[in-house]
């Protein structure tokens, strides 16, 4: 055994080469399945989520085509119900939440100047579980077993008596998969942000995007158990005849709604908060100005995260709850508009004095403010109990939450894609197409969703597969359908843009936008080890303030190591080794997925599954010969 090889012993280029060798993974099939690289996994996550976006979007287009004309027979009620359930479930569970969370899987380590995430294998595991869960849902759909009780799966419709066949079981188990992966990512994010920030990145220097990820991760940890509990109760009711939701035997159907929305409302913020992080991340470089009201924005994130848990009842205003309680939830639902308003004010205040660069990412931020504010304001309207009794479960609400979620999250995400694409793939996306993309999206989106406000007020309920011509809803539905196809076209344009970019040779500079945050320090795309030397920062926009980043040295150059720092001040505490690639996460995910799949059909699957799951976990955690060395 030679002496430990430290980076101080070698020339920087040599360090870089050696680290690359240590952190890179074999380019074999085994290597593909065994990867623990947060960048590869993050990229896979995002690409997978975008594929689900495509599928969910196609489902939406079929629905729009069906609704384009009255008394249409394009699809029947059975297919339609599956379509909107698949659309909602996919968009919420398989696209929006994962894409937002896992943008963080890729970016958070880069932004906080570390080499990987805290638990790389858990990270890999979470991806595979997510992939299998999503794949199961869509395979089920294509074999006519797609869930058909809505993404909210209200009992009794999704319950054992009225949820016929295995459709609702598949939905409920899909929840288990995505929650499992979501919790794994959240835990990973929390520990990574808490303990792996580069020296000097005290909590007042954490990028807003990372803050958003952190708050979201905490919300996930607190909210997801509610839906896991409720979906497990649903499976138990359906599979082994428990009576959680059987009103005739002492259960309660509203219990489902309380549990589901206790998760379901915060879930909206799982999507929206990271999107605000993207917005903050884009505004600074494109306004060429540091963020106004950094601490206000951080506090707003916390406030939103906290309040989000106190408003689930506004989804249940027409279920006949006590009036006093409803008034309380009106107040709390409205209160959440305060932090959102503060964020908007700070962003505009930053833009106000900025020297704006009108590139595509910034356009999407403008689109975000334009659309999201509209959605937020209709949100204030639906928070009012009396107004909600008229608009609840109508297209007004459909319009509202699409303005919030598409306007508030997808627009920032598109901006983020244009912004970070060079970092991910080392190539720039075409700006001209980007602008087309933006305007098409703006026009398409508003044409698709604005008329829905009016349709809802005109009495069109949600989730109807058709309507009679005499209702007078035909014209606006047709407009909406045209808008939907335009909006879809904007995504097609994005796809073309991406494909064309990927065909070009890589050549994007490390920091094409002249941004100030750390992810732009390494090359585009970053090397496997991210940073040859762990940077030390002294401000929020280190690349602007100190173009030559100070670095930490003294890490080993011949093994995977990261710097662990203190929670608040980010003072270096120790070096921590990081695990090499392993096939076990994949195997464990596979085995657990099969077990969960089996448990849709028989509760015994959980018992039988214990054996292989146990074996894989033993394999995963089998003590390695090498010692965990102190540094």
């Amino acid at each position: 055994m030679s002496a430990p090889l430290l980076d101080t012993d070698l020339a920087p280029a040599e360090v870089s080469a050696r680290l690359e060798a240590v952190w890179s993974e074999p380019k074999t099939l085994w290597g593909w399945f065994a990867t623990v690289d947060h960048k590869k996994i993050g990229r896979r996550y995002v690409v997978t989520a975008l594929i689900f976006l495509l599928l969910g979007g196609l489902a939406a287009l079929v629905m729009r085509a069906q609704l384009g004309t009255p008394d249409n027979h394009l699809v029947g009620p059975d297919v339609y119900n599956q379509l909107f359930t698949m659309h909602g479930s996919t968009m919420m569970f398989l696209f929006a939440v994962p894409v937002m969370e896992t943008l963080g899987v890729y970016l958070v380590p880069l932004m906080i100047g570390t080499r990987t995430v805290a638990f790389p294998r858990l990270n890999a595991f979470s991806y595979w579980v997510y992939l299998f869960g999503g794949a199961m849902l869509w395979i089920a759909f294509f074999v006519n077993s797609g869930p058909d009780a809505g993404w909210f799966s209200y009992v009794p419709l999704a319950g054992p008596q009225y949820g016929i066949g295995k459709r609702s079981d598949i939905w409920a188990q899909m929840i288990t998969y995505t929650e499992l992966s979501g919790l794994a990512v959240a835990v990973n994010t929390i520990v990574t942000v808490f303990k792996m920030r580069c020296p000097g990145m005290s909590i007042d220097r954490i990028p807003l995007f990372v803050w958003a990820q952190l708050v979201t991760a905490f919300m996930i940890v607190f909210a997801m158990p509610a839906v896991m509990v409720s979906s497990t109760m649903l499976i138990c009711d359906r599979l082994v005849g428990t009576h959680f939701f059987n009103w005739a035997e002492g259960g309660d159907v509203l219990l489902w709604q309380h549990l589901f929305w206790f998760f379901g409302h915060p879930e909206v913020y799982f999507i929206f908060l990271p999107a605000t992080g993207i917005v903050s991340a884009i505004i600074v470089p494109f306004a060429r100005r540091k963020m106004f009201g950094y601490s206000v924005l951080v506090l707003a994130l916390f406030a939103t995260g906290f309040l989000a848990f106190g408003l689930w009842v506004h989804h249940m205003f027409v279920t006949g709850l006590p009036r006093l309680g409803e008034s309380f939830f009106t107040a709390s639902s409205m209160a959440v508009a305060v932090p959102s308003g503060m964020q908007i004010f700070c962003w505009i205040a930053t833009l106000w004095d900025g020297r704006l660069r009108f590139a595509t990412p910034l356009l999407f931020v403008f689109g975000f403010i334009f659309n999201f504010v509209a959605g937020g304001l209709t949100g204030v309207m639906v928070a009012s109990v009396p107004i909600d009794t008229q608009v609840h479960d109508t297209y007004f609400v459909v319009a509202h939450f699409h303005y919030v979620l598409v306007g508030g999250a997808v627009f920032p995400l598109l901006g983020g894609i244009y912004y970070w694409f060079p970092k991910f793939y080392g190539r720039m996306l075409d700006e001209r197409m980007g602008k087309w993309n933006f305007w098409l999206a703006m026009v398409g989106f508003n044409l698709a969703f604005f008329p829905m406000h009016i349709l809802g007020l005109m009495g069109m309920p949600r989730r109807i597969y058709t309507y009679p011509a005499e209702m007078g809803w035909g014209g606006m539905n047709l407009a909406s359908t045209i808008g939907a196809f335009l909006f879809a076209a904007s995504f097609a344009l994005l796809a073309v843009n991406i494909v064309r970019a990927l065909r070009r040779a890589p050549g994007a500079p490390a920091n094409p936008w002249d941004a100030g945050s750390l992810e732009w320090a390494p090359a585009s795309p970053p090397p496997p080890h991210n940073f040859t030397f762990t940077p030390v920062v002294a401000s929020r926009e280190p690349l602007w303030d100190t173009p030559e980043l100070p670095v930490t040295t003294g890490l080993h150059a011949d093994r995977r190591e990261t710097v662990i720092t203190s929670l608040v001040e980010a003072e270096p505490q120790m070096c921590e080794s990081s695990p090499p690639p392993s096939i076990w996460p994949f195997v464990a995910a596979l085995v657990i997925s099969v077990t969960l799949l089996g448990s849709i059909f028989t509760p015994w699957a959980l018992v039988w599954g214990l054996v292989p799951v146990g074996i894989t976990l033993i394999g995963w955690f089998w003590p390695k010969g090498a010692k965990e060395e102190e540094s």
Binding site: W247, A248, E249, G250
Partner: protein, 582 residues
Amino acid sequence: MRRVATIFLVSLLLTNAGSAADGEWPVASGSPQALRFSDLTEINTKNVARLKPSFTFNTGLHHGEESATLVVGSTMYFVTPFPNYLYALDLTKPGAPVKWKFDPHADPASQGEACCDTVNRGPAYADGKVVMNTLDGQTIAVDAATGKELWRAHLANIRIGETLTMAPMIAEDKVLVGNSGGEFGVRGWIAALNLKDGSMAWKAFHTGPDKDVLIGSDFHPFYPQDRGKNLGIKTWPADRWKQGGGNVWGWVSYDPQARLVIYGTGNPGPWNPDQRPGENKWTSGVFARDVDSGQARWFYQWSPHDLYDHDGINENILVDRDWKGSPRKLLLHPGRNGYLYVLDRTNGQVLSAKPFVYINSSFGVDLKSGKLIPNPAKHTQTGKTVYDICPTAAGAKDWEPSAYSPRTGFVYIPHANLCMDEEGVQASYIAGTPYVGAIVRQKPGHGGYRGAMTAWDVAGEKIKWDHHENMPVWSGALVTAGDVVFYGTLDGWFRALDARSGKLLWQYRTDSGIVGQPVAYKGPDGHEYIAILSGVGGWIGAVLTNRVDVRDSTGANGMASAVPDLPRRGKTGGRLYVFRLG
């Protein structure tokens, strides 16, 4: 000497006991007043332990043998469950061979229309005629001597769920017959046929307009809620009275002095009370009618707007006795809802109503208004299971008749001690199919026993003694002047208790469970005999006879969970047992 004393005593107490005095058993209830009391004293508390089977007779059938065995002269008559054979046994010969057997050729389809097994509760006898009912809806008179058919009247239509299971009652020259089918949305009625030719004398329905119910100017119910025009329509939602039940499948009593026919009416249909708001007249009550015209005299409703299938068809025991210091003409009625009612049978006034089992479905009977006070917490509801309702749908006491001894002044009530969970569900009326609208799960009641023979002290208005049984008691009772009470159990024991103390004096294990009616008679040899048909069945016995799968706790309308052990405690098979001192 002993015999003379008995005659003296009985004629003193039972001014109208009539034919029972000579040791015959000419009517299922023992007498028109339904006392089920035998004046015979040969078998008494001292010697009953020496009872031995004298002869047995195998019916070869496997359904509930609920028939009373009539003894007239030296012949015994009884009716089997479907196919409703009527047997005449010659008691003069050793082993009592069959004198004749009458097969009415009942339609097998009727088996699917009988709610509670394909039973028959016995024939009736008068003027040399044996009159019987068949499950498929016919009343048939047979020559008692030859077994030849004299006339037959087709009264009930099985296509709409009507059957006949009750024992006809002959009062004066009328044969009184009522229909079964309260679980099939049948409209209940009682008919009086002329004994001589079976022609219809009158027929009274128990729902619908007053002219159908035979309510006219003679009708003077005691309580105001029973007065008014066409209550048989007005206490129902539109048209629902047409499926309203109020059947007469139990016991008819007759007061020869007042010439009043007194009988109870069955449950309203469907069971689910939400589908029939209103008091649902004239179901679950008791009518007194003029025997000649059928005109109603008075009515009292045991369970207005019945919530639990609490028919009012149980026996009404007519006694003339002291009540709170003065002689009264009383009616004693151990009700399905758990109360022992004492009524003034001249006007229908409730004098007393005290529970003889644990009851939580109601709080009592308001003697002022005559109204049952239901417990809202146990109100059957659509779409919600109400747990632990006591008593159950089968009642604290079902059809199994009790006996009254003038010697002790006690009513001997064979009954169940069960509770139930019930959920109301929307019932849909489809002619000829069950019209119930309830999911019921029955279970053992409080105290760890499922049935009892209870002696009720009429004067003291309280339970005198209780003999607990593991299984619900589904057989009738008999009490003799020897102060012995006889009854049978579902697991086949035929027991004799001391009428005063309730002490078990003797028991005999028959081949099958007992749901029949014990009778006492004096045989041609001058000795006292006790007869009982063994052969498990009825609603509760269906668990065994119809091979109910007890994994389904609602099987046989919840009896599967009340007596899931019945299949291993007994077997089916009808057999007559006749005992004498040996």
